[in-house]
């Protein structure tokens, strides 16, 4: 029984005072819209009547009717402005309540962050990092100890030597004698003379 009542209460609380205000404004807007519809219908009708009166030659009456029409058109414009205002107001309230929710969210987030920072003090972090560093070094020592037990420096050298040998054996044989290169052509190429001479000098110098 108790839970049933409390549930009902909870449901009721979902509509806030702002919601009620917004509803009232929107209802007002609807009423203005309905009013506009009415005036619009009136205008259309009166236009027809005025036309008919003119046809019948009742100019004065038609003029009077058009005057009334003009007045109603002004009213229509005024209601347009009012609708605009009412809608703006409703939007403002809506937006303000959204802003309020954003604020609440930020505040909650902030509190949560603070709470977490309380648990996670700077000193603790430093201490943990230090301990981690120590542990890493300790591990390295263990690694060295274990690895050093198997291979001495001499062994390392032997390994390197063997590696060298294998690499050499795998390479193709290079002939030891000088290789005779083909002669350089002696035909003169007039434009390229200068660089050629320099090249020869370079060869001579080497």
């Amino acid at each position: 029984m108790g839970s049933l009542f409390s549930k009902k209460k909870k449901e009721e609380s979902r509509i806030t005072e702002q919601d009620k205000a917004i509803l009232q404004l929107k209802q007002q807007r609807d009423k203005l819209r309905q009013y506009q519809k009415k005036i619009q219908a009136n205008l259309d009708r009166e236009r027809e009547v005025a036309k008919r009166l003119l046809k019948d030659g009742k100019k004065e009456k038609a003029k009077l009717l058009l005057k009334k029409k003009r007045y109603q058109e002004n009213m229509l414009q005024k209601t347009d402005n009012q609708i605009d205002q009412v809608e703006k107001m409703a939007d403002d309230i809506e937006f303000a309540s959204i802003e309020m929710k954003v604020m609440e969210g930020l505040k909650k987030g902030n509190d949560c962050l603070k709470e977490m920072h309380k648990i996670m003090s700077l000193e603790d972090v430093e201490k943990i990092l230090d301990e981690t560093q120590e542990a890493v070094e300790y591990q390295r020592e263990i690694d060295d100890l274990l690895a050093g037990g198997i291979l001495t420096d001499e062994d390392e050298e032997a390994v390197l030597a063997e590696l060298d040998e294998i690499t050499k054996a795998d390479l193709p044989q290079v002939p030891d004698e000088d290789v005779s290169l083909p002669e350089v052509p002696r035909d003169r190429i007039p434009e390229a003379e200068a660089p050629k001479e320099r090249q020869r000098e370079l060869v001579a110098a080497s």
């Binding site: 449901e11 509509i15 509803l23 929107k26 209802q27 609807d30 309905q34």
Partner: protein, 173 residues
């Protein structure tokens, strides 16, 4: 509005006489129920006056000069009532009934879909803007009668997707 597509039975004279054979009758009633609902849906009709309906094209096919007799009309309507598609507004006289070619739950879903796709959750709406507003002219629920709208919204309220604010407003969640 497009022309209503009558089912083939509509031009079949025996369709307008309740069949004595039980199996045939069941099928016939089924077809009539479907016809009534789709006809009302096409015309966006939310209530039915029995006397008016009897003379309307729904129960009276002038082309083949056949008319569903009054007692048969009641049989069909009672069948629809059993299915939950209609409700008498005057159960004693049985002259007027409300028609629901969609159940309030289905309507609720359609409205809620529209609300969600327009990002209107957490927004207050007037019932007037839902059924008569300029934003919903293309929606199926535009022009819906208020009793049905209220019921549809009540189903949403049960699911905690909406909350009615009197009879004139609703807040969606």
């Amino acid at each position: 509005m497009a022309e209503f597509q009558w089912p083939w039975q509509y031009n079949f004279p025996p369709f307008f006489t309740i069949q004595p054979n039980k199996d045939t009758q069941a099928k016939q009633l089924e077809a009539w129920c479907l016809l009534v609902l789709s006809y009302c849906r096409h015309r966006r009709q939310y209530s039915l006056d029995v006397t008016d309906a009897q003379d309307s094209p729904l129960f009276h096919n002038k082309k083949i000069d056949r008319k569903l007799p009054l007692d048969a009309v009641y049989t069909v309507l009672e069948e629809l009532r059993k299915k939950g598609n209609i409700e008498w507004t005057d159960p004693k006289k049985r002259n007027r009934c409300l028609i629901m070619w969609r159940t309030p739950e289905e309507w609720g879903k359609i409205i809620y879909q529209w609300v969600t796709s327009n990002g209107m959750n957490n927004t207050v709406c007037t019932t007037y803007e839902l059924v008569n507003g300029d934003d919903t002219t293309s929606q199926e629920f535009h022009g819906m009668e208020s009793w049905l709208l209220t019921r549809a919204l009540q189903t949403l309220q049960l699911e905690r997707k909406a909350e009615l604010m009197g009879s004139e407003g609703v807040k969606f969640f």
